[in-house]
Amino acid sequence: MDTAAAAASVQEPDTRREAIRVEDLHKSFGNLEVLKGVDLTAQQGDVVAIIGGSGSGKSTMLRCINFLETPSSGKIVIGGEEVAMRGDGSPANQKQIERIRTKLAMVFQQFNLWTHRTLLENVIEVPVHVLKVPKAEAIERARELLDRVGLAGREDTYPAYMSGGQQQRAAIARALAVDPSAMLFDEPTSALDPELVGEVLTVIRGLAAEGRTMLLVTHEMKFAREVANHVVYLYQGRIEEQGPPAEVFGNPQSERLKQFLSSVA
């Protein structure tokens, strides 16, 4: 593992290390400017927690990275490859954005599992139909992943018959099934009952421990402090403060961050 990584880094020293780079990202909805120039870089293996009050633009920023929202302007580079954008910010090359999206797995606040498919079908859907993995292979992998998130034996259950925590864990298995180079978590525990939050956080903690690159929009400050190696505080569409979690949480500089932290504590 180490030698392979080393060999790869010799070939492409810079781009290999960088997973996601966002430059001067702007996004407006009509007259409302939600993002006012955000810069962010995540190296491979980074766990970046994005925190901020409601309406600060943190979800919008995450959704701009895989173009679920069309940025108004800026630059997005995924794994060293810049996404070609038209003047209006929409992806210029649909094929390119579809290919890049398969490397970025998103986990949504509302899970967004496909309700007409069983858990197993949800997990194999993208590998089989988008990535063209042989079905038997995809099923075998899906079973492993469902087992890993604690859902062994529930393969044939439909999402509507499961708790929110189970659905979110299945959604994480779906994300892992595409073998993503980075994962985007959009408030993965915000729609869950308090007693179900822990089981989802445990799964995410496991992913962080194995060195997955993750961008994590979250309201769980304790969790962010624990798993992230970089914390970004957004305020009204700008990065107000960022740094290692010990700095951001332990020694906040800006008044707004101090206020925010005391209000959520």
Binding site: N66, L68, Q94, E98, R99, I100, R101, T102, L104, A105, M106, F108, Q110, F111, N112, L113, W114, T115, H116, R117, T118, E125, V126, H129, V130, Y158, P159, A160, Y161, V178
Partner: protein
């Protein structure tokens, strides 16, 4: 069986309805009606799917044209539409044929019936499917997008299966309307069930017998359709808890 009809005093009716006699004509009429209903319903679904997507995602011109189509078709009585579309359609085909140096063309009744009713069904199907597509939770489509699915695959793998449970009741209605609208084609002289019935009745003066028989055949079609659509709906609603509670 014949004995029973004799006892009930229905011997004459049974004879009239025998398969070698007028009864066979009625069944042939029913077969024609069903053929047209199937074709028209199918054509309507195809038009409806394109219409619904056009109305939801099309450009301004597409949306305006579709709005005119659905408004006009749904505003004009079907009988009038059938007369217009049938005569206009056959007129245009003949004009084209003459311009190409050919003679008058014999219009195939089944094809004409499917075309005319299909265009009518398409307008209603457009609205049924548009509503169903809009009812699909947007998150399911976003999830598909975020995993790199191309647009057509999203339509095939996510949107259409997910909207089916919302569309099936409306489509079942449309199917039943299609089976009965075939009767309107009698006015353009197409040998479907109603026209066959009228011919049988006026030839034999046994109006009651034949129209009752025709009514019975239409009822059978409806009952069988109901059973089929109940199964289709159960399939389309897979994964959704029953509204009555408990497990589906």
């Amino acid at each position: 069986m014949t004995g029973l009809f004799e006892i009930l005093g229905l011997g004459a009716s049974a004879e009239l309805l025998s398969l070698e006699g007028w009864g066979g004509n009625l069944l042939r009429g029913l077969a024609n009606s069903l053929q047209i209903a199937f074709g028209a319903f199918g054509l309507g679904l195809v038009i409806g799917l394109f219409g619904a997507y056009g109305k939801l995602y099309g450009g301004k011109v597409t949306r305006d044209l579709l709005a005119i189509y659905t408004t006009v078709i749904r505003a004009v009585p079907e009988l009038v539409l059938i007369l217009i579309l049938y005569y206009v359609g056959s007129d245009i085909i003949n004009k084209i044929s003459e311009a190409l140096g050919g003679g008058r063309v014999e219009i195939n009744g089944v094809a004409a019936g499917i075309w005319v009713l299909g265009v009518v069904q398409g307008a209603y199907a457009t609205e049924v499917l548009r509503g169903a597509i809009k009812a699909v939770p947007v998150g399911q489509i976003e999830a598909a997008k975020s995993y790199g699915m191309p647009t057509l695959m999203i339509m095939r793998r996510v949107t259409i299966p997910a909207m089916m449970s919302f569309a099936v009741p409306g489509l079942a209605n449309l199917w039943l309307i299609a089976t009965k609208d075939t009767a309107l084609l009698a006015v353009v002289g197409f040998n479907e069930l109603t026209l066959e019935t009228r011919q049988a009745a006026s030839s034999t003066r046994a109006y009651f017998t034949f129209f009752l028989a025709a009514g019975f055949l239409y009822l059978m079609v409806t009952l069988c359709s109901g059973a089929v659509f109940a199964r289709v709906e159960k399939w389309a609603r897979r994964g959704q808890p029953s509204l009555k509670g408990g497990t589906a």
